[in-house]
């Protein structure tokens, strides 16, 4: 299928994927006058001013810390709970376990807006608006369908005999899960964790309505609500955007294979 044009396709796809964002990264290290220059200046002056001002004046590190806490705890708890569920769904086969899997799939199809209002009210009743545990609880329930679907595809491939051997050696189900199944399923757990982390790190809609206190807001909210009515602080926005995206680009470059496998496991089975 390859023709002479094939290398052109590669270049075009690579360029279209990267250049818009690269432009923003370059913007973050430009001088203030360079940003608004026409013709656009490609080579930046490599100033760190926008990063300094994003940190000192706009509280970039606070948003970053909030994102790490919220996305990190969402990932840990979702994977722990999801692994229990996925284990049960692959090892115990009842008609209602299949129904549960379908229910999770159906739930993940619902638009966020259709649960946002009631979720807001529940968190408000509990006094959990503007708290880490409030947003994390909402995120866990949002990410569980994805986590469980990916984990079941991985768990299904693990041979049952190994566990049975562990039971014969006197392990309980939970011990067998912890000592035998989970170590074997580590690649699957890791794949699901990466995807859940990326989703939680990027989530905006629920963060916007649940975290109205700027001390607790995550990076996507901070970036969306960047103050500036008439003159946008583009340098600072670009700096914050670069900081918000860097961990994800590193994850993508390192774990491209796993991400693709995880996404297609979640999708093709769905």
């Amino acid at each position: 299928m390859k023709s002479y044009f094939f290398p052109l396709w590669i270049v075009a796809i690579g360029a279209l994927s990267l250049i818009p964002f690269l432009w923003f990264v370059l913007t973050s290290v430009k001088g203030a006058a360079q940003i608004t220059a026409i013709p656009p200046q490609i080579i930046p002056a490599f100033h760190g001013d926008f990063y300094r001002s994003a940190v000192n004046e706009y509280g970039l590190f606070r948003y970053l810390a909030n994102s790490v806490i919220v996305a990190g705890s969402t990932t840990l708890i979702s994977i722990a709970i999801g692994a229990l569920a996925a284990y049960a769904l692959t090892r115990f086969r009842f008609s209602w376990t299949r129904f549960y899997l379908m229910l999770l799939l159906a739930i993940s199809m619902f638009p966020q807006i259709s649960i946002a209002g009631p979720v807001w009210r529940i968190l408000s009743h509990l006094g959990w608006l503007n708290t880490y545990h409030g947003i994390t609880a909402a995120y866990i329930s949002l990410s569980l369908p994805l986590a469980i679907w990916i984990l079941t595809t991985f768990f299904r491939e693990l041979p049952y005999e190994i566990e049975e051997a562990a039971w014969i050696d006197g392990c309980s189900r939970l011990q067998a899960l912890r000592k035998v199944v989970l170590p074997l399923a580590a690649p699957g757990l890791f794949t699901a964790a990466i995807l859940v982390f990326i989703h939680a790190w990027n989530e905006f809609f629920f963060a916007l309505i649940i975290l109205t206190n700027s001390d607790l807001q995550t990076l996507p909210v901070g970036i969306a609500l960047f103050p500036g009515e008439y003159t946008m602080p583009w340098g600072e926005i670009a700096a914050a955007s670069t900081m918000a995206t860097l961990p994800l680009v590193v994850l993508t470059l390192l774990f491209q294979r796993r991400i693709i496998r995880g996404l297609s496991a979640g999708a093709v089975k769905g």
């Binding site: 940003i35 013709p39 229910l103 799939l105 638009p111 807006i113 946002a116 529940i122 905006f204 093709v268």
Partner: protein, 293 residues
Amino acid sequence: MKNSGRAAVLFLFPSFLFVAIFSLAPIFESFRLSFYRMILTLPWLGQKFVGWENYLDLLTDPVARHSVATTLIFVAVTVPLEVLLGLAVALVINEPFRGRGLLRAVVLVPWAIPSTVASQMWRFIFNDRYGLFNYFLFGDRTELYLAPLADPQLAIAAIMVADVWKTTPFAALIILAGLQAVPDELYEAASVDGAGGWQKFRRITLPMVKPAILLAFLFRTIDALRVFDLVFVMTQGGPADSTNVLQFYGYKKSFAEGMIGAGSAVSVLVFFLSLLFSLLYIRILGARVLRAG
């Protein structure tokens, strides 16, 4: 196995607890609230049953009707583009070549970028005085520069461009998974029979990845129906409601105006639109894919 039913319940309970409280109950609550009038932030004022009033308002409010139309147009333009471009990308990153892993990682970048970052980035590119978009179109002739995000026709197009950029990789990955399942022997046999590249594509690739393509259509449609982040950052639904898509309209009703009943009616509408499209695609796909679970 003894007690396996009980064990299953125990293992599934933690996940069910979260899903029941923060997903299932809210879904039912949304349906219920759509028949009530209630102020979100003033719950002590009580909730009044109003029957179909919220839905009737939705039908008669020109802003709401325009919002439905805008959302459907958005879906109709972006989803086919994303799937088509996704197919092209998938075909390229499925071929073996040096640096394929790197290109796959690069393709994933727009997908991985937080959507609010992508939104600010495109907002900057579409800037009316120093955006790259204007420079590419008009060069130094700044007197011709457009303000795409302040123009009702261009604003929705700009958001479409941003959405296609951001989500084509996802469509590509779904289709790539389909391509990888096509056995090489089919192509080899076709070569023996003297089939050309285009014939192989038409007669082997396309039929074999059809389920993956439809799946990409399904996922992208459901996702595009609830587009929000791009609109929130790039235009706030404006100018003149030209980008006021349903999820943004519902968000404003529920959280800016506090009319949670009216907002819930919008959410029920978005839900039924998603359901309608899902059923349509599943009908085309057949039950085959679902059975694989």
